[in-house]
Symmetry: C2
Subunit: 444 residues, 2 copies
């Protein structure tokens, strides 16, 4: 083990020790500390901007050398108003309902033997993210609000910004068990982090699909993230065509770079002639390039779509359009090419909608709505932790609950299992109750 790996292991151990204490802080203590982070970010704007300027300077050199894109440098660049926005985002995390200590189930097993299932923090969250310095702040705030310790690894391009943001967070949370937030900086330490399955309970990678996939393949720690968002909208032959056009344009144009934007539209063959010309005009007015199959290209001017297009997450103003002869064909296409993220049907026929939604295998299935609604804020989940395309633990848009697990509390009066076994076994009562566990007592 080299020095850097050793140090990552030590940081994870410190985070693990802090997590045990963090789990027992009251919501008030955690909330106040998160608010304090927001205040300190605003109070130390100049320090943040100075550090960020150093990152931006180096990035601009790479931009001029053709290594970085303009968009990349823009994402990296902070300003006074951006810092205020980040502080506001942190305050909104602080104001979320406490995700901890909720009584999820309460059951009497027998007289004076009562079981409670309560939400508790996961423990230690490991995060690896790219470029945007606000990611570090957001992840730290979400972790602290949910009582988790966190290990933060940002991109080297934001090294100066990340270090200063981390220092400010540490200073702002001096009253929180020390070690709760850890910063790791060397790229080589990511490999070490991914091996620490004894100390780290969840890995949240943020970045490109390839990066998230790399993380998934190189750790046995559970991963919360999404590799791909290849969303479809199917326009049924019973669709309101004006609605179809408006929803497609919204889902493609409003923010094409995000994972819940539509990439492929499937058109029922019965309505292609009525819908396509007007849809194409609407899309072209918004600067969208269309790639279509043969039927599409007979009706409108479009680039030829190849099989590759059905698997492409453009993240851009490009839309693939394919004609299908039935809802069955649409479902089969989506279950073959989709990324299990978000799929929508436009139809006035409730039973077709029901069938589509039941049979399509995706985290979110929509009827007469834009795919772009698949988002923690829009779903009313509060602060968004991320979007998951995995099926276990948390699926789809994930709120603070995604950073929690649960613990079973059983309160008895000397109960032994022998009483419920053998020839004179007593039965359990197994009666769900309304009582809750008095969790909200702050421990020292």
């Amino acid at each position: 083990m080299n020095d850097s790996a050793q140090s990552t292991t030590e940081k994870a151990a410190a985070a693990e020790a802090a997590a045990l204490q963090l789990a027992n802080l009251s919501d008030t203590t955690r909330t106040n500390a998160v608010m304090q982070i927001a205040d300190e970010l605003e109070a130390q704007k100049d320090r943040i901007l100075d550090a960020n300027a150093a990152d931006v300077e180096r990035a601009t050199e790479k931009l001029e050398a053709g290594e970085y894109s303009k968009a990349f440098v823009d994402r990296l660049t902070l300003s006074s108003s951006k810092i205020s926005d980040i502080a506001e985002m942190v305050r909104s995390v602080a104001q979320q309902e406490d995700p901890l200590g909720k009584t999820l189930e309460a059951r009497e097993l027998d007289t004076d033997l009562n079981l409670f299932k309560l939400s508790v923090p996961l423990g230690v969250i490991g995060t690896v993210f790219e470029s945007r310095p606000d990611a570090l702040v957001q992840i730290a705030a979400l972790s602290l609000k949910s009582g988790n310790a966190v290990i933060l690894k940002g991109g080297s391009e934001a090294a100066h910004s990340n270090r200063v943001l981390y220092e400010i967070i540490e200073e702002a949370t001096a009253g929180i068990p020390s070690g709760w937030a850890q910063l790791i900086e060397a790229r080589a330490d990511v490999a070490t982090l991914l091996e620490l399955d004894e100390s780290v309970d969840l890995i949240m990678p943020r970045g490109s699909s390839a990066f998230v996939e790399y993380v998934e393949q190189h750790t046995s720690i559970p991963v919360l993230g999404h590799t791909e968002g290849l969303c479809h909208i199917f326009i049924d032959n019973q669709a309101d065509l004006q609605m179809a056009k408006e929803v497609i344009i919204d889902a493609k144009v409003q923010y094409p770079a995000v994972c819940n934007a539509v990439e492929t539209v499937l058109l029922h063959q019965d309505i292609t002639e009525q819908l396509l010309p007007e849809l194409a005009t609407g899309l072209k007015d918004e600067g969208v390039t269309i790639r279509g199959d043969e039927t599409v290209r007979r009706l409108i001017t479009a680039t030829e779509a190849t099989t590759d297009d059905w698997s492409s997450e453009y993240g851009d103003l490009i839309l693939a359009i394919k004609t299908v002869d039935s809802v069955d064909a649409a479902i089969n296409h989506i279950n073959s090419y989709g990324s299990k993220h978000t799929e929508s049907i436009i139809t006035d026929d409730a039973s077709t909608a029901h069938e589509f939604m039941r049979r399509v295998d995706a985290a979110s299935v929509f009827h007469n709505a834009s795919t772009r609604f698949a988002d923690g804020f829009r779903f009313g989940l509060g602060a968004e932790v991320g979007i998951s395309t995995g099926k276990t633990h948390a699926r789809g848009p994930v709120g603070l609950d995604g950073l929690t697990t649960y613990k079973y509390y059983l309160k008895g009066d000397g109960h032994r299992v022998g009483t419920y076994a053998g020839e004179s076994a007593e039965p359990f009562t197994h009666r769900d109750t309304d009582s809750s566990w008095p969790w909200a007592i702050e421990l020292n």
Copy 2:
């Protein structure tokens, strides 16, 4: 890829295709099919016993050669009454409440824009288990009841029994989408199965700690299982000593081989003199060997406990006893050596109990109750899928819910996200409602 790996990949693909259909079967269809499995097992007892005899014969040779233990051969051996017990267990799975289509959340996002979070099957469950042929039947029944396809890999020692049980299950479920249950038989195919993260949604290993750990280290598929059960009971100085003695004996003696049996007892130093002699007599009457620290050995006759004992899951009539000077010391010992499975405190002081339960990091924390209550049936979860010591997805005793995930259903009326963005953005209503999604319509 060799032929066998090819065939495992094909079997997983067939299971994946079947899973899409299985997800849409009504509870009645799934329940009837599970009941049919129970009936066929009883109807074909002779066929099962013949196949089992071949396995037992080979195992007996290995027993005589000293390769297998008597207990191992006993677990492998079926009888007419054991088959009836297995059929009864299958019927109890069939009679569980449907875990699918439950509306877990319902929220109005805006007028005519309603979100529903519904429980759905995971998809394809991969299972690898050892020796006991009843494991195959139980896993198949749990998977089918919860709408999941399943890939079954049993131990080679039960190959004949497993093949016949599998064939009977296939025959009994002829009305279920074909391919829903797959059998793989070669040891080499396990490695292939663990790589199929595109087709398999969850791996459930059953076997030794070393085996479960091997599985966890060799797959990026989520794993549901437990490697170790190193449970403690802490006897506080405010404990009812008679209760302490009875609970310890129950937790050690009633079934010492299981993961929720107690392995280490922590005694508060203030009560060692009063409790130990009588406790030791009680334990010795039940055949339990005690390993104790220096204080313990001053008071009773016991083998010397070394540091290794604090990390030992004996699974046998052996108990380690250590004295501690406070609840703090007990908590620290457990958080250092425990397996995060089940931990219990015996005390009459509610606030000490509260502190212990909050600060100990384990799936189940008990007050004045035997650790042996950590069990799906006793917890009232119905059919037990397994016990998980992981923190994500499902923790502690896991019922049928552990084989489900959820899906977000959003029903709109042409809603676009553009309406809720920009200068004239409309607000969301985000109001939780009592409505539910009409999931229980059988699809063709």
